[in-house]
C-alpha cells in the first residue's frame, strides 16, 4: 500500500516529464525512419539547389535535436533531483536574477542564430535573390527572362508560356491550366502572380516555396536535374478549395519539351494555319516586335527549334526588347531597372 | 476568484465548440427534399415496360 501511494505521489512529475521524453523519442524515431515514421525524411531532391538546402535543413534539424535532448535531460534531472517528496525537509530556495547565467543563455542562442544567419546567406542569395543571368549580344549580363508566367487563382494554376518572342505577357503567350512542363537541366525562371488572394507555389522535390502576393510580381527559379513528374501544391490557405489547388510539374528532355510546346502552340493557331508545315532550314525571322515584320507570308512561322535557339542564346533578346519597348510589361521594366541598380557598385 | 473566472471562460469555449459542432451537423429541412411514393415508382416502371409505344 505504502509503495503504491509513493508511486502515486510521483504521478505529476512522471506525467509532465513524459512530454519531453515522448518528444525526444518521436524526434529520434523520425530521424532514423523507425516505424511508424518511415517516410519522414525529405522527398528525393530533383533540383540542383536542393543540396545546399537539404544540408541546411538537416544541420538545423541536428542542432535542434541536440538542444532538445540537452534541455530534456536537464529538465528531467531537475524534476527528479529537486522533488519536494524526496527530501521533505529541504526548503525551496527563492532567488532571482543571475547576471552570469542570463548573459550566458542569451549569448549562446544569439551566437547560434548569427552563425546560422551567416551560414545560410549564400544559399538564400542563390535561391531568392540572384536570378540566373545570361549574356546578351552586346556582352551585358541580364537576368534570364521568365519561361512561364504563373498566375495563381482560386483554385488552380494558370501557366502562360512566353511565346516566340521569349517575353511573357505578350499577344503570343500560350496558356494552359494545371500543367507545367519544363526542360531538364536548364535554369527555369518563373514569373509568379496572383489573380485574387495570397497563394504559395510549392514543389517539395525542388525545395522551392514562394508566396505569391496579389499585385506583386515575383520570380522563382530552379534547375531540375532529371526528368520527373511531381505535384505543385498551394501552401497558403487560400479558401475552401485550397486542398484541390494542385497542378502537375513535368520535367522532360529539351527535345520533348519543344515538341510539347509546339503542340500547345498549334492549339493557339487557327486550324487551317496550324496544319501548314513549318518550313525547315529557312533563316529564322526576327521575333515579333513593334516594327514591320521581316517574315514573308510563307515564312512567318518560327519553328520551335529556332525559337529554342533564340531563347537559349538570346541573340536577339535585347533587340526585341528595344523593338517592343512599348509592350514590355511594367514588371519586366521594373525588374530590369532593379537589376541595373543592383549591379552598380 | 480568478481561477473561477478562468474556468468559466473554459466552459464557455467548450460550449461554443459544441455549438459549432452542432452547426456543422445541420441537415437541410426535409420539406426541401424530394418526396416520392416508392410503390408508385415501381408501378410506373412496370407500366412503362408494359406500354406499347408504337
Amino acid at each position: 500500500m505504502r509503495l503504491q501511494s509513493k508511486h502515486l505521489k510521483r504521478f505529476w512529475p512522471i506525467l509532465f516529464y513524459s512530454v519531453p521524453v515522448l518528444a525526444t523519442v518521436t524526434f529520434l524515431m523520425a530521424s532514423w525512419g523507425v516505424w511508424p515514421f518511415e517516410a519522414c525524411e525529405l522527398p528525393e531532391s530533383l533540383s540542383s539547389a536542393a543540396k545546399t538546402i537539404d544540408h541546411l535543413f538537416y544541420g538545423i534539424h541536428t542542432l535542434s535535436m541536440l538542444i532538445l535532448l540537452g534541455t530534456g535531460v536537464a529538465i528531467g534531472w531537475v524534476i527528479w533531483k529537486f522533488d519536494h517528496r524526496r527530501d521533505p525537509n529541504r526548503k525551496a530556495a527563492y532567488f532571482h536574477h543571475n547576471t552570469k547565467l542570463e548573459v550566458l543563455w542569451t549569448l549562446i542562442p544569439a551566437g547560434i542564430l548569427v552563425a546560422l544567419a551567416f551560414y545560410q546567406m549564400n544559399s538564400w542569395a542563390e535561391n531568392k535573390m540572384n536570378r540566373p543571368m545570361i549574356t546578351d549580344v552586346s556582352g551585358t549580363e541580364i537576368p534570364k527572362p521568365p519561361l512561364v508566367m504563373v498566375k495563381a487563382r482560386q483554385f488552380g494554376w494558370e501557366f502562360h508560356y512566353a511565346g516566340d518572342d521569349g517575353i511573357t505577357e505578350t499577344a503570343d503567350d500560350l496558356y494552359i491550366e494545371n500543367l507545367l512542363v519544363v526542360p531538364v537541366g536548364e535554369d527555369i525562371v518563373l514569373q509568379l502572380e496572383s489573380r485574387d488572394v495570397i497563394h504559395s507555389f510549392f514543389v517539395a522535390e525542388l525545395r522551392l516555396k514562394q508566396d505569391i502576393v496579389p499585385g506583386k510580381t515575383q520570380f522563382a527559379w530552379f534547375n531540375p536535374i532529371r526528368p520527373c513528374e511531381v505535384d505543385i501544391l498551394c501552401t497558403e490557405l487560400c479558401g475552401w478549395g485550397h486542398y484541390k489547388m494542385k497542378a502537375r510539374l513535368k520535367v522532360v528532355p529539351r527535345g520533348e519539351f519543344d515538341k510539347w510546346l509546339n503542340e500547345l502552340k498549334q492549339d493557339y493557331q487557327p486550324q487551317e494555319l496550324a496544319c501548314r508545315a513549318i518550313p525547315v532550314g529557312e533563316p529564322p525571322a526576327l521575333p515579333r516586335g513593334g516594327g514591320p515584320s521581316t517574315g514573308s507570308v510563307t515564312n512567318d512561322h518560327l519553328s520551335v527549334a529556332e525559337v529554342a535557339r533564340l531563347w537559349t542564346h538570346h541573340e536577339t533578346f535585347l533587340q526585341s526588347l528595344a523593338r517592343s519597348a512599348s509592350k514590355v510589361p511594367q514588371a519586366q521594366k521594373r525588374d530590369r531597372e532593379f537589376t541595373s541598380e543592383r549591379q552598380q557598385p | 476568484m480568478g481561477v473561477l473566472n478562468s474556468s468559466t471562460k473554459v466552459c464557455k469555449s467548450i460550449l461554443l465548440f459544441f455549438f459549432v459542432l452542432m452547426a456543422g451537423c445541420y441537415q437541410q429541412p426535409s420539406a426541401e427534399n424530394l418526396q416520392y411514393d416508392a410503390d408508385a415508382v415501381e408501378e410506373i416502371r412496370s407500366q412503362v415496360k408494359a406500354m406499347d409505344w408504337e
Binding site: D164, W240 | T8, Q27, Y36, D37, V41
Partner: protein, 436 residues
C-alpha cells in the same frame, strides 16, 4: 466570498449543459440521412405565380407525384438510372451509360476501384460542393461565389461548339472540365483520370436531363383539372380502350413520357456532334507576325464599334462597362415572374425562401483582362462571337461574314496588350473615320 457557492452552482449547471449539448451534437452526426434530390421549388413557385390566382399554391400531392415520376425514370442520387423507356434501342442508352453513372454517383469512396474508375461518388467529391447534389447550382459554397455555379437543370450551357438552343457535345463538356473556366470559380480538373472525367460528363448530362424533365412536368401542372393527377395509374388496369379514363391515361403516358421525356429531353442529346458549328478557315493574317496582321486588327476595331455593335455592351473602353443591368437566363427564369423587381429584395423574398440565390446582374466581359472563360484559343473566341453565348445577352453574330468575325477575333486577342489610353482613342478615331 459569499458568492462562491453560487458560482460553483453555475459552473456545475454549465458543465451539465455542455454534456447535454455534446450528446445532442454527437447524435446529430451519428446517422447520415439518406441522400435525396431536391425539388425545383423555385420553378414550382414560378408556375404558381403565373397560373394560379392570389397566392394559391399547387396541391402537395403534385410535388410528390413529380418526385415519383422523376424517381421512376431517373432513380436516386445513390442509385441513378438511365431513363430508358423502350425495351430495346432506347435513345437514352445511346446518350448515357449506366456504368459511368454508377461511378459518378453515390457517396464518396475515393480509392481506385476495379471498375477502372477512381472509386465511386466522383460527383459528390468534386462537384456537389458548388453545383449541389441535384445539379441546381446551389451547393454549400454557391452563395459565396461570383459568378454563381451553373444550374444544370435549365439545360443551357455557355461554352460549346454547337449553336444556340442545342446541347453541347461530350467533347465540349470534357474540354471544360479539363481547362476549367478562367475568371470564374470553376477550376481545371486536368489531374483526374480520363475515365473519371468521362463518368462526370455523363453524370452532368444525366442531372441536366433530370432537371429539364422536372421543369417539363411542372409546366404541365397548369393544364390539369382541379385534383387531376399527372398520370392516373389506377386507370391503367381498365381494359376498355374507349373508356375516357383509360384514354386519358394513354394520352398522359404518350404526352409525358413519349413526348416530354423521350422527344423533348433525351433525343435532344443524341448525336450532338452533328450539330457542331463549322469554324471556317482563318485568313493567314491571323498569324501574329504576318505583315497584314495589324490591318486585320484595325478592321476588327472598326467592326467592334460599328457592324459588330460590341461596344454597346462591352463598353467603349472594352472594360465590360457598357450594359450592366441585364441578367442571365438562369436568373431571368424567375425574376420575370409577376410582381418581382430584381432590384427590390422585398419583392422576391418568397423566391429566395424557395432556394433562389439573390439575383446579380450579368456583366459583359472585360475584354482587356486577357481572361477568356470559354477558352482563349482563336477558334474558341470565333465560336463565341459567331454562335453567341447561350443563356446570356451575348447574341450570335448573324450579320457578320466569317472573315469579319476573324477580324474581331484578332482585335479581341490583341486588346489585352493595347494600353488603355490607346483603346479609348479608338472610339474617336472611328467616329472621325465614319464622319468622313
Amino acid at each position: 466570498m459569499r458568492r462562491l457557492p453560487d458560482n460553483r452552482l453555475k459552473l456545475t449547471a454549465i458543465r451539465l449543459a455542455a454534456c447535454c449539448l455534446a450528446l445532442v451534437g454527437l447524435a446529430g452526426c451519428g446517422e447520415p440521412p439518406q441522400t435525396v434530390f431536391k425539388l425545383n421549388s423555385v420553378e414550382l413557385l414560378k408556375q404558381e405565380k403565373l397560373f394560379l390566382s392570389g397566392g394559391q399554391s399547387f396541391d402537395d400531392r403534385y410535388s410528390t407525384e413529380i418526385g415519383t415520376i422523376l424517381t421512376a425514370f431517373f432513380g436516386t442520387p445513390d442509385q441513378p438510372r438511365v431513363p430508358k423507356v423502350l425495351p430495346e434501342e432506347d435513345p437514352a442508352a445511346e446518350v448515357l451509360s449506366q456504368e459511368k453513372l454508377d461511378a459518378a454517383a453515390g457517396p464518396v469512396l475515393s480509392t481506385l476501384g476495379d471498375n477502372g474508375y477512381h472509386g465511386k461518388g466522383l460527383y459528390r467529391e468534386h462537384c456537389a460542393h458548388c453545383h449541389g447534389i441535384t445539379g441546381d447550382g446551389a451547393g454549400r459554397t454557391a452563395r459565396s461565389l461570383n459568378p454563381y455555379p451553373r444550374d444544370f437543370r435549365l439545360g443551357k450551357f455557355k461554352f460549346k461548339s454547337t449553336p444556340l438552343r442545342s446541347m453541347p457535345t461530350d467533347d465540349d463538356m470534357m474540354q471544360l472540365l479539363v481547362k476549367g473556366v478562367p475568371g470564374s470559380s470553376m477550376p481545371s480538373f486536368r489531374g483526374l483520370l480520363k475515365s473519371d472525367l468521362e463518368a462526370l460528363v455523363d453524370y452532368v448530362k444525366y442531372l441536366t436531363m433530370r432537371g429539364q424533365y422536372e421543369r417539363y412536368l411542372m409546366a404541365e401542372l397548369s393544364n390539369l383539372e382541379e385534383g387531376e393527377p399527372l398520370i392516373n395509374l389506377t386507370a391503367s388496369g381498365v381494359q376498355d380502350e374507349d373508356d375516357p379514363a383509360k384514354e386519358k391515361y394513354l394520352d398522359s403516358m404518350f404526352d409525358l413520357v413519349g413526348e416530354g421525356l423521350v422527344e423533348d429531353v433525351v433525343e435532344r442529346w443524341i448525336d450532338t456532334d452533328d450539330n457542331r458549328s463549322e469554324v471556317p478557315d482563318a485568313p493567314a493574317a491571323m498569324l501574329l507576325d504576318h505583315p497584314d496582321h495589324q490591318a486585320l486588327v484595325d478592321q476588327g476595331r472598326v467592326l467592334y464599334y460599328t457592324g459588330g455593335n460590341c461596344a454597346q455592351c462591352h463598353g467603349e473602353s472594352v472594360a465590360g462597362n457598357g450594359q450592366t443591368e441585364t441578367f442571365d437566363d438562369w436568373t431571368n427564369e424567375w425574376i420575370k415572374s409577376p410582381g418581382v423587381d430584381p432590384f427590390a429584395p422585398a419583392t422576391y423574398a418568397d423566391f429566395t425562401a424557395a432556394g433562389a440565390l439573390p439575383p446579380r446582374p450579368i456583366l459583359p466581359r472585360n475584354l482587356s483582362s486577357g481572361e477568356f472563360r470559354g477558352g482563349g484559343q482563336p477558334e474558341d473566341i470565333y465560336l463565341r462571337i459567331a454562335n453567341g453565348i447561350e443563356g446570356t445577352p451575348m447574341p450570335a453574330a448573324a450579320t457578320l461574314e466569317s472573315d469579319q468575325i476573324w477580324a474581331l477575333v484578332a482585335y479581341v486577342k490583341a486588346l489585352p496588350f493595347i494600353d488603355v489610353d490607346q483603346r479609348l482613342r479608338h472610339k474617336s478615331v472611328n467616329d472621325n473615320a465614319i464622319a468622313k
